[in-house]
């Protein structure tokens, strides 16, 4: 439904100042979101390039493409780049930054300068980690397990960890900014239960960012103290405990999984509502499920350590808690599905991503039950089963939602429409490539192939070849949107304020929005996703 007579608004955030300083010194949350977009896109393709090399190496059982040392660095840097510099910031810092103020009818975030500072902190942190990569690399795995990282590894642990330490502050400050903004800057009439679910999920995410990230910062300091000054906190030779590190690391890094998936869930709620033109079924349950996941997410870290010498009782407690955290996730999936019932469902690109997300997240979530079942986890943990499971959540979940959201809000961000046909084709390519890459890995894991193996017994080759073939399809699928989205910036049709005929305050302002977001502060008298009987505005 492209606009027939849409005009570009005369003043908007993109033409409010030109030149490099108007971007690098901006305090506009929308421009800062685009700065983040540039950053996370860069790291996505850097991390992706490492993944390509990993899959090429694993196409044959022998370690013939790169040597073992290089291979270890490849999977380490793939993980570090993707987790800390892409997945954690991607949705909150790009889509959240752009949309939170607009969705709540505010002019900006509560602390615009802090928001800009967060981006600089992210960039500075990433430079340290990039330095660690180009000056020889890192071979500890993204998990930095001690005592390997403290006494054995000869790679660049300190600069890489310092980069993650610094970037953590970006995460903390962003979370803080979001929490204050959502509490204090909602438009008149926009009560908590009128908020879009995207806001609820970002609120829950922000709580984790603020409460969890300091723990990883402290843990990194302890690793550095051990490595540089031989404190011995994690060194058993002087009475330290290497497993203590795993407790501290997963106390942050398990909730960090929810930092990645909760904003994705928020995006999916928006997409499903918009392309069904319907209220999200069970709004309050979906909203509280986000908070439930955030809280329970702090209590399940021990399920990463079922085979790490943990006591039987501790394992059982972490097992039952891990099952509990599955329930709010299941509730969300059921509610999205129910939302589609009797909707007015448009098969636009963002909806294809949303449908893909629900399917893949369902598989990712259900395979999580295998890992929470402690007697079965013993067999499949540290194998390709784990690798497949978390890629279904992080790639099938977070990246599908991120791309869906990027397509949905692209007309708002850029003011222009992308090529719908190419977008649909690439969404399908990504879906197929993803499944071909990661589904065989479930089987590999069950058959016993350990993760982080540079060479493997020949009986695992067929499934590895399938996975590598899928990865090449997936890689192509990710490159196509780069092309048509960039193309649309110049040649795309003008979008008009509301190209999808969706409700939500972001569609009540121009595309692109003015620097102050709205000509005048909106007054909200309606619930989220409350559709009028006929839809106006989408034909501008």
């Amino acid at each position: 439904m492209p606009s027939r007579t849409a005009l570009l608004p005369p003043h908007h955030y993109l033409n409010d100042g030109y030149g490099i300083t108007s971007w690098l010194l901006t305090r506009d949350h929308k421009r800062i979101a685009l700065l983040y977009l540039a950053g996370v896109t860069f790291f996505f393709f850097v991390g992706g390039a490492f993944a390509v090399l990993i899959r090429l190496e694993l196409a044959t059982p022998a370690g013939d493409l790169v040597n073992d040392e290089t291979y270890n660095k490849l999977f380490t840097m793939h993980g570090v780049m993707m987790v800390f510099f892409f997945l954690i910031p991607a949705i909150p810092s790009v889509l959240g930054n752009f949309l939170i103020p607009i969705m709540i009818g505010a002019k900006d975030l509560a602390f615009p300068k802090l928001n800009l500072a967060s981006w600089y902190i992210y960039v500075i942190g990433s430079l340290f980690t990039l330095y660690a990569i180009v000056s020889g690399g890192l071979d500890t795995g993204w998990t930095f397990y001690t005592p390997f990282s403290t006494i054995a590894s000869t790679s660049n642990v300190i600069p890489a960890a310092l980069g993650i330490f610094i970037t953590g502050f970006s995460s903390i400050l962003t979370g803080l900014n979001f929490i204050v903004t959502i509490h204090r800057m909602r438009a008149p009439g926009l009560t908590w239960f009128r908020l879009p679910l995207f806001i609820w999920s970002h609120y829950a995410t922000s709580l984790i960012m603020v409460l969890g990230t300091p723990v990883i910062a402290i843990t990194i300091i302890m690793v550095a103290a051990d490595r540089l000054f031989h404190f011995g906190i994690f060194d058993p030779a002087v009475g330290g405990d290497p497993v203590l590190f795993q407790h501290l690391f997963w106390f942050y890094s398990h909730p960090a999984v929810y930092i990645m998936i909760l904003p994705a869930m928020g995006v999916i709620s928006e997409l499903v509502a918009a392309f069904c033109r319907k209220q999200v079924f069970g709004y309050t349950f979906v909203a509280f499920a986000s908070l439930g996941i955030a809280v329970l997410g702090f209590l399940v870290w021990g399920h990463h350590m079922f085979v790490a010498g943990q006591s039987v009782y501790a394992a059982l407690v972490f097992s039952i808690l891990s099952f509990l955290v599955a329930i709010p996730s299941a509730v969300k999936v059921f509610n999205w599905t129910a939302t589609m019932y009797k909707g007015s469902i448009a098969w636009e690109t963002p909806m294809l991503y949303a449908i893909g997300f629900i399917g893949l997240f369902t598989i990712g979530g259900l395979t999580g039950l295998f890992l929470a079942a402690v007697g079965l986890d013993v067999h499949v943990t540290d194998t390709y089963f784990i690798v497949a499971h978390f890629h279904y959540i992080m790639v099938g979940g977070t990246i599908m939602a991120y791309l869906g959201g990027l397509h949905y809000w692209w007309p708002k961000i850029s003011g222009r429409l992308y090529n719908e046909r190419m977008a649909k084709v690439s969404a399908v390519i990504i879906f197929i490539g993803f499944n071909l890459t990661f589904f065989p890995q479930f089987l590999l894991g069950y058959l016993g192939m350990p993760r982080r193996y540079h060479a493997y017994p020949p009986e695992f080759q067929v499934l590895n070849v399938l996975s590598s073939a899928g990865a090449s399809i997936l890689g192509v699928g990710y490159l196509i949107p780069m092309v048509y989205l960039m193309w649309s910036l110049r040649y795309g049709k003008l979008a008009g304020s509301n190209p999808w005929g969706a409700v939500g305050l972001e569609w009540n302002t121009t595309s692109p929005p003015p620097t102050a977001n709205f000509a005048e502060t909106p007054i909200v008298t309606w619930a989220a996703y409350e559709y009028p009987t006929t839809v106006e505005g989408h034909v501008a």
């Binding site: 005592p147 054995a152 290497p242 069904c276 079942a373 007697g375």
Partner: protein
């Protein structure tokens, strides 16, 4: 045990297939049946339904609790070796596995065991964390420096099975592999008797015990300055601090390397540390010697 793990696995496969197809089927059906027919149409006004929310919260809750108990019972069985086990000590180091049989045989990256007997591995690491993983037996346990971890299995079929290190441990992690050779009892006996010049592990421990002059204080006759070690293993002793502690492998290890940590009640804290004087294998020999000190044992002095 492998069969119990597998039945849980296949149950969960069934559950995953069922729910994935249910969700996918509903989504595709709705997406087709309720596709937008005119550009301006909107969806039906439906806010939600409490009964449905309760239903789809309670049913997953019950299912997951069922899986929890199933998985827990498998795990508890896995964690409790039978009383009579064939014990083998394992030391992991970058990047090899060292196996030490009680009768004295040493193996590297290969472990021979008889079929039909429960085998218990008592494991530690010389450097970083490793992990013994035998996919065919569905067992896996981290091998941690400074600790003893355990793993047991009972092979049911002769053959050769993969042994992998499953905890990333550095450059040649993927080369830290080996095999478990499961043999018929007769073959195992002839393997045991072939090619061993060294004595049993306990006798090596006895020699080390004398070499390190442990026997000047730890005497069998209660006249020594240190506790009597005869019949000590597995007992509970009272400490000077008032705590009680079970004498297991970890306690003996700690008492050799860090004697001040847990001093037995009634003894002076005078024992020097043997840190740096005994390696991991020496510790295992001493532990096995202490275990062998029973009244009816020929090793008892």
């Amino acid at each position: 045990m492998a069969a119990r793990v597998d039945s849980l696995y296949f149950f969960l496969i069934g559950l995953t297939v069922f729910f994935s197809l249910l969700i996918a089927g509903l989504i595709v059906t709705y997406a087709v049946r309720f596709r937008r027919r005119t550009p301006d149409s909107i969806g039906a006004v439906i806010h939600g339904g409490l009964m449905l929310e309760v239903t789809w919260s309670v049913i997953p809750f019950l299912i997951t609790m069922g899986i929890f108990f199933w998985g827990a019972s498998v795990f508890v069985a896995m964690s409790r070796p039978p009383d009579q086990t064939l014990n083998v000590y394992v030391v992991g180091k970058q990047w090899m596995w060292k196996f030490q049989h009680l009768d004295g045989q040493r193996e590297i990256n290969e472990l021979h065991v008889p079929v039909g007997r429960a085998v218990k591995l008592i494991m530690t690491s010389e450097d970083v964390i490793h992990d013994v993983y035998v996919p065919a037996f569905r067992v896996k346990a981290d091998v941690i420096p400074g600790r003893y971890t355990h793993l047991w299995f009972e092979p049911t079929k002769p053959g050769t099975y993969h042994l992998f290190c499953a905890e990333y441990c550095g450059t040649r992690h993927s080369g830290m592999i080996g095999q478990i050779v499961v043999m018929e009892p007769n073959d195992y006996q002839s393997w045991l008797s072939g090619g061993t010049e060294e004595g049993s592990l306990a006798s090596a421990g006895q020699k080390l015990f004398a070499d390190l002059a442990c026997n000047t204080c730890h005497r069998p006759d209660a006249q020594g300055r240190g506790p009597v070690l005869q019949n000590l293993f597995g007992k509970t002793v009272e400490l000077a601090s008032g705590e009680r502690v079970v004498v297991d492998e970890a306690y003996i290890r700690e008492s050799i390397l860090n004697p001040m940590a847990k001093v037995t009640l009634g003894f002076q804290p005078i024992m020097p540390t043997f840190q740096g004087l005994v390696n991991e294998e020496g510790l295992l020999e001493l532990i096995e010697y202490v275990k062998s000190l029973k009244q009816d044992n020929p090793n008892a002095q």
